[in-house]
């Protein structure tokens, strides 16, 4: 059986300090209701999430369960209906600036080429972009965009755009990374490579990462803990510790714990009716 540890929980294997972990992101009793005319949509229902400093936490859940909404609330670009959020030590009441954010869509600027789309991050922060050019080129080259630096977004494939958006979120070395299905638009191979690269980058820099995905595999392969959400209204179903040693690299899929944990999360979704073993199309 997989251990399901409620908060507060032990740090995963490989953590260096035994001291109590500093909390970097904390969402307490967060609810969000959208009002559309007369009807109301409850996107988040009393969600509690804590992410320790330097921890990698993934959120999995079915489409529409409020993952993006939660991420936006943590970033301070959407206000919770109730509840309190602290991000990077500060109570969130306006957009948080010491974060790097990757949206579900690339959200690039059509009038800037790839390199300038990364450097806009620095320009908007009042820094001279020239100082960061070299680093931006190196990062973009590392994700396979070295030959496309002077291309405009509309000249790129969807996956290439998303990679540029990921680099834009890294260029200013934020202590906290918020990523909303960052690999969603990538092909399976690039996705696997980006996943491995992100793990190594994270191990080197120890940023706090909150990573939204609907890939159970991806969540288990990357995260220290996986937050499993139930369908709308979004609630936290379970928080699962992932004790697979790092770096997990390409081989971790064969690790016995990987198989056990993904199976466990799949079972949770089965029990909640998110997954069904029989086809829903069979009686049509």
């Amino acid at each position: 059986m997989v251990s399901i540890v409620p908060l507060p929980r032990r740090r995963p294997a490989g953590d260096r300090s035994a001291a109590p972990v500093k909390i970097s992101i904390s969402a307490k009793s967060v609810s969000k209701t959208f009002r559309l005319g007369a009807s109301e949509i409850c996107a988040l229902d009393n969600v509690d999430v804590e992410v320790g400093d330097g921890e990698f936490v993934a959120i999995v859940g079915p489409s529409g369960c409020g993952k993006s909404t939660l991420l936006r609330i943590v970033a301070g670009i959407s206000r919770p209906t109730t509840g309190d959020v602290v991000t990077n030590g500060k109570t969130v009441d306006k957009p948080v600036t010491d974060i790097g954010i990757v949206f579900q869509n690339p959200v690039l600027l059509a009038w800037r080429n790839v390199l300038d789309n990364v450097l806009i991050q620095m320009e908007l922060r009042g820094e001279a972009p020239g100082k960061y050019r070299e680093r931006a080129v190196a990062l973009l080259t590392a994700v396979g965009l070295g030959d496309f630096l002077d291309r405009y977004p509309r000249e790129l494939s969807g996956g290439m755009r998303q990679r540029a958006a990921i680099i834009r979120a890294l260029i200013h070395e934020p202590p906290v990374l918020l990523m909303d299905e960052p690999f969603g638009a990538l092909d399976a191979l690039t996705r696997e490579q980006m996943r491995v690269d992100l793990e190594l980058l994270w191990m080197r820099t120890r940023k706090t990462v909150l990573f939204v995905t609907h890939g159970i595999d991806e969540a288990v392969l990357l995260a220290d803990r996986v937050v499993v959400m139930s369908p709308r209204p979004g609630k936290i179903e379970q928080i699962v510790d992932v004790d697979i040693p790092r770096p997990r690299g390409l081989d971790a899929r064969h690790h016995s714990r990987f198989i056990e944990i993904t199976q466990h999360i799949t079972d949770v979704f089965l029990s909640r009716g998110v997954l069904k073993s029989e086809s829903r199309l069979s009686d049509i």
Binding site: T97, W111, I120, R154
Partner: protein
């Protein structure tokens, strides 16, 4: 079997451009040839439709008075149009970004936009006399609305997620405006500028029709009264040329200011070589 010829993109682009220009020119030449031949074959009376050769002949004879008229009219067009730009873009900014201005000014604007602006021209004569001012104002009035309306659309149409991203950088209003909102709005602003450019020539001529003692519109009415159809055509062609030139100046400006835009680069920007 098809041979694939490898050409440099630049050469390919130049070739495409020359080809396009050649075809456009051929279209115009064909138009004039058909006109000339048609008029002669069907013996159309020259005060109804003179052949182009006679139009050019008449224009050649009267070139100095035409040049004077063109100068007057161009001045009216440019002054009114520039005034419209200078006022409408900042107005669009304030409507797009201020609730107060939006709620007070915008409904008035929408109403005024429906008023047939040309119908106001006689009023301008009462208010401002026969000189330069009423012409400038009518040009202003006609080119003003399309610029404001499409600029507002440009400022408003930005993807809210882009602004969410901007907010996570902590950039203030001015920086966000200059680096994100304005560049985003530029293609729509240029669309408005082009519509405005096309309308401004019309406006100048109409204003001269109503009351004037100079300008191409005035001359047009005079020649029309004399049944000098050759000169009427000569002036119409000259007016069109002025309109085209104003339009191309805007187009050129657009190519310089927003070289990245699809309308500027045509299609995907890349050229498929086969």
């Amino acid at each position: 079997m098809t041979d694939t010829i490898v050409v440099s993109p630049r050469a390919a682009r130049t070739y495409q451009r020359l080809l396009r220009f050649g075809r456009q020119l051929a279209g115009f030449i064909a138009l004039f040839v058909i006109w000339e031949v048609g008029v002669r074959v069907f013996h159309v009376k020259e005060y109804v439709l003179p052949p182009p050769s006679q139009v050019f002949e008449a224009a050649w004879e009267h070139w100095s008075s035409m040049a004077q008229g063109a100068w007057t009219t161009t001045l009216e067009i440019v002054a009114g149009y520039v005034l419209a730009i200078v006022i409408s873009v900042p107005l669009a900014v304030s409507i797009a970004f201020s609730r107060l201005v939006e709620q007070t000014v915008y409904p008035v604007m929408v109403f005024l936009q429906i008023v047939p602006k040309i119908a106001v021209a006689p009023l301008f004569i009462i208010w401002f006399g026969f000189g330069f001012t009423p012409k400038l104002l009518l040009v202003f009035l006609l080119s003003f609305f399309p610029i404001v309306i499409s600029s507002i659309a440009g400022f408003r149409s930005i993807d809210p997620e882009i602004m969410d991203f901007v907010h996570t950088t902590g950039a203030g209003g001015w920086k966000a405006f200059l680096k994100v909102r304005l560049p985003h709005a530029l293609p729509d602003i240029f669309t408005g500028l082009k519509v405005g450019a096309a309308l401004s020539a019309t406006a100048a001529v109409v204003a001269e029709f109503v009351a004037s003692d100079r300008g191409l519109g005035y001359q047009l009415l005079q020649y029309n009264g004399d049944l000098n159809t050759q000169m009427v055509f000569a002036i119409i062609i000259l007016l069109s040329a002025i309109g085209v030139i104003v339009y191309f100046v805007v187009e050129l400006l657009q190519r310089i200011v927003i070289p990245w835009h699809v309308s500027t680069t045509q299609g995907t920007g890349g050229i498929e070589l086969t």
